[in-house]
Symmetry: none
Subunit: 243 residues, 2 copies
DNA sequence: CTGTTTTATATGTACATACATTATAACAAT
DNA sequence: ATTGTTATAATGTATGTACATATAAAACAG
């Protein structure tokens, strides 16, 4: 039998299985080098699913920019490899270390709170379910420059007694077997409100870089909701993108 | 008849038309506030296309993060908007169009200037070489929300008499055979200085999102140096990353 | 040998249909 | 009142089918 195949009895949707297989398939050297994939009809036949279903899977990869379709020619791996790559998977502390900046934790506060509406939506939990909230102020030894607030999905299983001085994602991976693989971020500018201004030792109303971060695990399930307020000039966000 | 309808004889694919209509539709206040869209069957019927086809369109918006689906509850505009994976290769105007926001150009100013040191370095040109500087203020019809400054490398061959109301990269590609393929960006927060505050009609010192953008062509040669000052709350920068 | 036309093939578009799953609502039983 | 059950309505999954369209390659004409 073929190396790649689909289990019609699995609870996992066929298109999801197909998507997975495709992801594996296109790792193969030939495809990475630009070889066209088997045609849709062919592949559908081989996987014993309908072309429509297979198409769903391919579509997703095309949307993601991993595959490129061309009529008559076929489908192949996108050559210019869009993956923004930007090493923004480093944790804050790792990132700072890389830049040679020693980091100090000024404050660390952990509590259980009732989620607001936004959180209920993102985590998709019941309103009465308590979630773990972590606040911390970090920065150079001489001056704080970022105020973080993190909320963790109950699923993660944090108790609040963990050692939060360790790199966070390392801990989640090792102790809780949760691997953060996807993050969506929104970056904007805000004026420092009083309470935050105080924490960062700036005057109220001064500009801050504000980053919302939505973190997901492999199954695209929400894991963490993170807010970061960065003192202006202390932090620059860099993005590199190709097309 | 309904305000929204689809032309079955148009050469434009039905799913593309439906996508457009959806984009318009969800601009309506109710939907922005979280009202559920008409159900798929209902909408399909109203537009006189099949549910499958309609679904294609909705899928796209869902993938972009504009819509959220929930079984039994229905489909609605993403509230906390973990929005748009939108590959940031869209120009400003294209992006706004996509979101159904009409754009107005408030000011447009084009001059030839002597480059400062940063520019000399980036463009790698002689200090006496003049470069084209373009300034523009853009925003909603009722309020400006971004101030752009662009400098173009002499190689691009702009004269200053071009029609800068067209999408910029489109023009560069068609008229000047220059394809921008790589951009490096730095995003930070700054306080609005007087001259900019005036242009954006905010008070001096209020927070702005500041974006520096270095744009290169295929040969990684510098093309454009772009500064953007975005009024806080008017613009959110989204980044999606996987590992 | 070179330019043109045809043909075959791959993706693109579109529909009708069926059943699965899930969250809410309505209702009944405790 | 709370809990459990059932109906219902929405999206989710999946198939089979048909024809359109673009284009690379083959066939052909000059």
């Amino acid at each position: 039998m073929n190396k790649y195949s689909i289990d019609h009895k699995s609870p996992m949707p066929l298109h999801a299985q197909a998507e997975m297989l495709l992801r594996q398939l296109i790792q193969e050297e030939d495809y990475q080098n630009g070889k066209v994939l088997p045609s849709e009809v062919e592949l559908a036949k081989k996987l014993a699913i309908s072309r429509t279903t297979l198409r769903q899977s391919i579509n997703k990869l095309v949307f993601e920019g991993l595959l490129v379709r061309k009529k008559r020619s076929g489908t192949r791996v996108a050559q210019n490899a869009v993956s923004s790559k930007s090493n923004n998977w480093l944790s804050f502390s790792q990132e700072m270390k890389l830049r040679g900046i020693p980091i100090r934790n000024f404050e660390l506060h952990v509590t259980w709170v009732t989620p607001d509406e936004q959180l209920i939506n993102f985590f998709d939990i019941k309103p009465d379910r308590k979630v773990l909230k972590m606040e911390r102020v970090r920065g150079r030894p001489d001056e704080p420059f970022v105020y973080f607030v993190s909320y963790f999905h109950p699923r993660v299983g944090l108790t609040g007694d963990e050692d939060f001085k360790r790199p966070l994602y390392e801990m989640l991976e090792q102790e809780h077997h949760i691997v953060a693989t996807l993050s969506k971020e929104e970056i904007s500018a805000v004026a420092a409100e009083a309470s935050i201004a105080e924490k960062l030792r700036v005057t109220s109303g001064s500009p801050l870089l504000f980053r919302k971060r939505f973190v997901f695990d492999q199954g695209e399930r929400p894991i963490e909701y993170n807010l970061g307020y960065y003192k202006a000039n202390s932090f620059v966000y860099t993005v590199e993108s190709t097309r």
